[in-house]
């Protein structure tokens, strides 16, 4: 994995590497018929998840709580809870089958190649360390930067996630920031080492709608600028519809629908997907927006 580390010096330098949706090059993340088993009950909690993601592409995973969407992400990140194990299929990150990885190689891979943000950002930050120092730590460990460089890098990253006053936020503690700001900080931390894949697992669920839109916009922008692949996980089909090319609908560990976003939204095949669409058409904004569009 050592070959991967030096390539990401700074985000702008990386940008030309991938023009938006231009090259459909080698897949950076591919799951083949992934099967996850609960060791305690002996039952499969996820079976047969299968997708391929190239640089600059976005995949949406939709499902309710307990559908196995989070377990799938955790398997890709190599952080499954101890009671679950991968019992079938394979996960390949940038061409490497993760089952062959030693814990040491995993550490190398995480953050620099694959990274993630989750719901409840506050619990992923140390409450007694200033925000800037926590980002700088990633830069120093993953990119081998000196103290001074890491500090500047952290401020740059905070600016890159559009925090209004990056210098100020750099010196603040997590409790001084709002939920939306914390999620931005976490995104900054996640992209610090220039990963090629970013997984956002319900990253906007607890946020206000306007803030959710800001975060989704930010993720889309980062993807377009750096060409990283994005996995957006949500219980809300509409959130996923905002920025994904492909959608995968999970229900009780099974993929009930998978395909290009437009196809899934407009011609859902499975009853469950239809329910998700109905929720919006019958009770959501679409009820008013659609006629206007026709007019």
């Amino acid at each position: 994995m050592t070959s991967l580390t030096p390539l990401s010096e700074h985000r702008p330098a990386e940008a030309p590497r991938t023009e938006p949706s231009g090259d459909r090059g080698a897949p950076v993340l591919s799951l083949r018929d992934l099967r996850i088993t609960d060791r305690v009950t002996g039952r499969d909690t996820v079976h047969g998840v299968d997708f391929t993601l190239a640089a600059g592409e976005t995949l949406g995973i939709v499902g309710e709580s307990g559908s196995g969407k989070t377990l799938t992400c955790r398997a890709a990140l190599g952080i499954l809870p101890p009671r679950f194990e991968v019992t079938g299929g394979s996960v390949e990150i940038a061409g490497t089958d993760i089952t062959t990885l030693t814990p040491r190689a995993w550490t190398e891979l995480r953050a620099s190649t694959i990274s993630a943000v989750f719901q409840d950002p506050a619990s992923y930050l140390n409450p007694s360390i200033r925000v800037g120092a926590q980002i700088a730590e990633v830069l120093r460990v993953k990119k081998g930067l000196k103290r001074r460089e890491a500090r500047d890098g952290a401020v740059e990253l905070l600016a890159a996630v559009h925090l209004r006053d990056p210098e100020l936020v750099h010196g603040q503690y997590p409790y001084e920031l709002s939920g939306g700001m914390l999620q931005r900080v976490l995104i900054a931390t996640a992209i610090a080492a220039g990963p090629r894949i970013l997984i956002a697992d319900e990253a906007t669920t607890a946020l206000d709608v306007t803030v959710q839109a800001e975060i989704l916009d930010l993720l889309a922008e980062l993807r377009d600028r750096t060409g990283m692949a994005l996995v957006v996980v949500s219980h809300d089909l509409a959130v996923v519809a905002q920025l994904c090319d492909q959608v995968l609908v999970l229900r009780r560990g099974e993929v009930v629908e998978q395909g290009p976003t437009a196809r899934v939204l407009h011609h859902p095949r499975h009853t469950y997907t239809r329910l998700l669409v109905t929720e919006h058409e019958e009770y959501g904004l679409e009820k008013f927006l659609r006629p206007e569009e026709d007019a």
């Binding site: 709608v209 219980h235 019958e282 009770y283 008013f288």
Partner: protein
């Protein structure tokens, strides 16, 4: 309607007064079940006293559903709590079914509440039912407090269960043994047993998965058809849009816009409302909106 203006013009006097019922076609003008006029609420004491609501005026006509949109810190929950008498307003008036309540003392509130005219459904379905009591005891509480005999309460509870599509054998269970959706339906049932004229719902679907969300929204629609007035509070325009007759938007303690659901969503006037409409995730999800959203964000003060 004065509240369309972002300034604080509606403070003090109810210049435009309640929304004329003409907004809602087919409903005769009647005494509103809820009328709030020029409401101010402050939190904290002395030096830490700060305004939470300023000059808020709104009405809910009988049988009408008003969607109240507000994000974190907008004061939407405070508004609900003021209407329920859990927070004392510092100025303005609140009338419930024609009765002025903003000056009520504890005893008058208790008498009013026991009539069961107004009920409340909380956001968190796990914590809004006592974890140690069976569903039956929780549902019976509003009736028993109001002096309904036990036997009658039992039959009324069973009648309400059918309305929220819960099976009778759930009555003997405690909330911990119910799913999230069942709990929220039980909480709605609890609010319905007294046959209220107004139900205030604070984020009733935010914590739920799609399937359960649809179930609750469907129940709310039926309630509306049955003539129960609803004050549906949410941070998400999307979840309110399909159920509300009218929508009011609360931003930093002030009502910045109100009108029929269609007008507010298709022709929002205040930049904040426009941002709300533009931010609500829809299935049409056009990434091109990004630039429009950025422009609106720039318009709003930090």
């Amino acid at each position: 309607m004065t509240t369309g203006s972002p300034t604080d013009s509606p403070a003090g006097t109810p210049a435009g007064g309640p929304v004329p019922p003409a907004d809602v076609p087919g409903r005769a003008p009647a005494v509103p079940v809820l009328a709030v006029t020029g409401l101010d609420v402050h939190h904290g004491r002395r030096r830490r006293r700060r305004p939470v609501l300023h000059g808020v005026s709104l009405t809910v006509a009988p049988g009408e559903t008003l969607g109240l949109i507000g994000e974190t810190g907008s004061g939407k929950t405070t508004l609900a709590r003021a209407v329920l008498g859990l927070v004392r307003p510092s100025a303005g008036s609140i009338t419930l079914a024609g009765e002025e309540v903003s000056t009520h003392g504890a005893r008058q509130w208790r008498a009013l509440r026991r009539r069961g005219i107004v009920q409340y459904v909380f956001q968190d379905p796990l914590r809004s039912l006592d974890p140690d009591l069976t569903v039956e005891r929780s549902l019976a509480e509003p009736l028993l407090v109001g002096g309904v005999p036990r036997a009658e309460a039992a039959t009324r509870i069973r009648a309400v269960l059918a309305r929220v599509r819960l099976e009778e054998d759930l009555l003997g269970r405690v909330p911990g043994e119910l799913s999230g959706g069942q709990r929220q339906r039980a909480a709605v049932a609890r609010a319905l047993v007294t046959e209220p004229r107004l139900v205030i719902l604070d984020e009733p679907v935010s914590a739920l998965d799609s399937a359960h969300r649809v179930q609750i929204l469907r129940i709310l629609k039926e309630l509306r058809a049955a003539g129960v007035a609803l004050l549906f509070i949410s941070h998400d325009l999307g979840s309110v849009a399909g159920s509300a007759d009218r929508i009011a938007v609360l931003h930093r303690g002030e009502l910045v816009e109100s009108g029929t659901a269609r007008d507010v969503i298709t022709r929002p006037r205040h930049p904040y409302t426009r941002l709300l409409v533009g931010s609500a995730p829809t299935l049409r999800g056009a990434p091109a909106d990004r630039a429009a959203r950025d422009a609106l964000r720039a318009l709003l003060p930090a």
